[in-house]
């Protein structure tokens, strides 16, 4: 049977009789003293320089710097000048298992996440074949229990094999452990099918995550439609391809009382749709990616598909500014990477022929920190909060530094500068949108549900 994460309900009332949502490889529980780090847990209201003691994988004590003595067998990290945050949670990653393990698999994907400070992710279901049956969910959970270095939740498709025609056995999939339903990669083109899924969801639970795009309007587009696409002669995807679908789906969700998550919001018109739906009381949540927060379609001028081709496409500066505002005012609930690894031969081709998607787990914090926090555009607190709360729409509480909780946290050196990709990647693929860039803020150690999931190779720990 599957390994179950300690601290999460295995069955019973707390989780509605469903299996634990997240699953990882069992390992030794950490005994660790982090001395003198700046702790920051905005949700729990923890802030300031403290010692933090982890015993048997739990946060045992937080106390004044220098006040906790290391006992035998406890590793000590002299962490003065470093920061400790609750670990991050990404509700939107592509780990490619099964079928496309040459791009990524559960082992490399979770290592990549751990290297970015994540202690939980939700894997998308657009694998090959797509995850449409309970047996597939069970097989994935079984695999994760053997190779995943951080806890992973699995989503299942809304429609069988993502064909957009028939619903999957959603109730059985939930029983097997599916934490969400999504045809991500494709929109649900039929309003009738989405309506049925949202009606059915009232019985099964499990938020439906939507990749919003009208295929009729997107056509064969490969980048944002606008000044840059017109100059480059590339077919454009208009912003209204996204916003009109959000408008349609928010109306259906409101009518049926369904719960939806809008994935990777990119355009100003889309933000308006979400804002209106939220004001109308629709159960709607949404994500934004680091690359949409930090780049615009001007970046596409280099025609480098490996770094700058993804769906939805990079939009204009006005869209980017609107996304930042929406993150600040709470319209956007969380930051999600849409980590989408692809092999070099799928990216080193002319722009139009290349696959869509970029990797983002290892650089999510550092990229947004460097490009938005350092210049003062957003606060560090906001970044930590929005990277941490991605599980809430799917019923998964954010990690916390509070005493007594399982240790899921990351230790970060905010001053450290590093060049992305210089030392390779934990991910199997190198299509990082910030490859070659110098970023500030480096993850030194990540703890995931009480285990040390990652430590930077060049960073050593002392043992008491």
């Amino acid at each position: 049977m599957n390994e179950v994460i300690d601290g999460l309900p295995e069955d019973g009332a707390e989780n509605g009789g469903l299996p634990a949502p997240l699953i990882q490889r069992p390992g030794p529980e950490a005994n660790l003293l982090i001395r003198g780090a700046q702790l920051l847990d905005p949700t729990a209201g923890i802030e300031g320089s403290h010692d933090l003691l982890i015993e048997k994988g739990r946060v045992a004590r937080i106390a004044e710097t220098g006040s906790i003595e290391a006992t035998e067998g406890v590793e000590v990290i002299e962490a003065e000048g470093f920061h400790v945050f609750p670990a991050f949670f990404d509700p939107h990653v592509h780990f490619r298992t099964p079928g496309q393990e040459y791009k990524e698999d559960l082992e490399t994907g979770t290592r990549s996440a751990a290297a970015g400070g994540y202690a939980g992710v939700i894997a998308m279901a657009n694998t090959s074949p797509p995850v449409s049956t309970a047996e597939q969910i069970e097989a994935l959970r079984d695999r994760a229990s053997r190779v995943a270095s951080i806890p992973v939740g699995f989503s299942a498709t809304v429609t069988r094999d993502m064909k957009g025609e028939e619903l999957t056995d959603m109730a059985e999939l939930r029983q097997a452990g599916a934490v969400a339903f999504t045809d991500d990669g494709l929109p649900i083109a039929s309003a009738r099918i989405l309506r049925r899924a949202l009606q059915y969801q009232a019985m099964t639970g499990g938020r439906i995550a939507l990749h919003e795009e009208d295929p009729e309007l997107s056509g064969r587009g490969v980048m944002n439609e606008g000044v840059v696409s017109s100059e480059l002669g590339l077919r454009g995807v208009p912003s209204i391809s996204e916003s009109t679908m959000i408008g349609r789906d928010a109306a259906i969700a409101g009518y049926e009382g369904g719960a939806i998550q809008i994935q990777h919001l990119s355009a100003v018109e889309s933000i308006e749709q979400v804002r209106r739906a939220k004001a109308d009381g629709v159960d709607i949540t949404c994500e934004v990616t680091p690359h949409h927060l930090c780049m615009t379609d001007e970046a596409v001028r280099d025609l480098n598909a490996s770094k700058h081709k993804m769906n939805p496409p990079l939009r204009t500066e006005a869209d980017r500014q609107a996304l930042i505002e929406a993150l600040k005012d709470g319209t956007i609930d969380c930051i999600a990477t849409d980590h989408a690894p692809h092999a070099a031969h799928e990216k080193e081709v002319p722009y139009e022929a290349a696959n869509m998607g970029v990797t983002g787990l290892e650089t999510a914090f550092a990229s947004v920190y460097t490009k938005l926090v350092v210049p003062g555009t957003i606060s560090l607190e906001l970044l930590v909060e929005k990277l941490g709360c991605g599980g809430i729409p799917f019923g998964i509480e954010p990690f916390t530094l509070a005493e007594g909780s399982r240790a899921s946290l990351c230790l970060i050196d905010l001053e450290a500068e590093w060049v992305v990709g210089e030392d390779g990647y934990e991910s199997r693929s190198g299509n990082s949108w910030c490859a070659g860039e110098q970023l500030r803020g480096r993850v030194l150690v990540t703890l995931a549900d009480g285990q040390v999931a990652y430590r930077l190779r060049t960073f050593s720990l002392g043992v008491a």
Binding site: S229, G233, L234, P350
Partner: protein
Amino acid sequence: MKHLLSIDDLDPERIESLLDRAESFAEVSKRDIKKVPALRGRTVVTLFYEASTRTSSSFELAAKRLSADVVSVKASGSSVEKGESLKDTVETLSAYDPAAIVIRHPQAGAAQMLSQWVDAAVVNAGDGMHQHPSQALLDLFALRQRIGSVEGRKIWIVGDVLHSRVARSNIQAFSMMGAEVTIAGPPTLMPRGIDASGCEVRHSLDGIEEADIVYLLRMQKERMGESFVPSIREYARLFQVNSRRLGPRQLVMHPGPVNRGVEIGGDVIDSDRCLIADQVASGLAVRMAILFELLAHGGESSAVGEGPVPIGEPA
């Protein structure tokens, strides 16, 4: 200048000097012996992933007139048909140590990618809907032969700008050389945001009498099926340029191949105001000039060590 990928790689001075060079090659072409030894012993590869008559034949002949060895690869009938990637094809051809690779590809940015993989000079002979710089240069050359500089001239580009790499290169090149560019066509075929390039956008031929030069684009029949225009009939009624719509001093150009009776009236093609034959003739001299500038004059010495050859000396 190492490569010619886009009009962006040029400036007015470079363009003038290329056109000067083309002029001397045009003279060579009038002689009995039309070859010069400038690229003797060097190899030029032409790699065409799309059907082409004018561009491929004139690049080939230009390289041969410069005494280069020429290898012509077409996608049909080659390993490309067997699924070989662009990168692998290019690596194979690199074994011949080409001095230049001329590439035509259906996807934007192919020439630019190529330039990152090879040591050879890369000439973009058309990439998707992006750029076709040698076409813009030969158009400027044909105009220079007929009327001199385009500075201050009013040029209207009419038709399917959206799908046209010729339009993108020519808007840039004409503007760079000081012309006032207007584009005209149905709104469905005008790319959103194109006005940012500084040209005026119109949706009718009203006012076309002000144009010194009317540059027509090919209207592809496939566009009807995609609802870009309702019918050929309606398109021709609104945007066909024929002698009734033109004043006596207005010149007409077209990159070819033409659709007689669609975007252009047959009476115009057969008239003296039409520069289509001049454009084709210009192609050879301009492409000789491009290869010469990149290979013989671009700083690196020639493989056989004779250096730039004085123009006009027959081999």
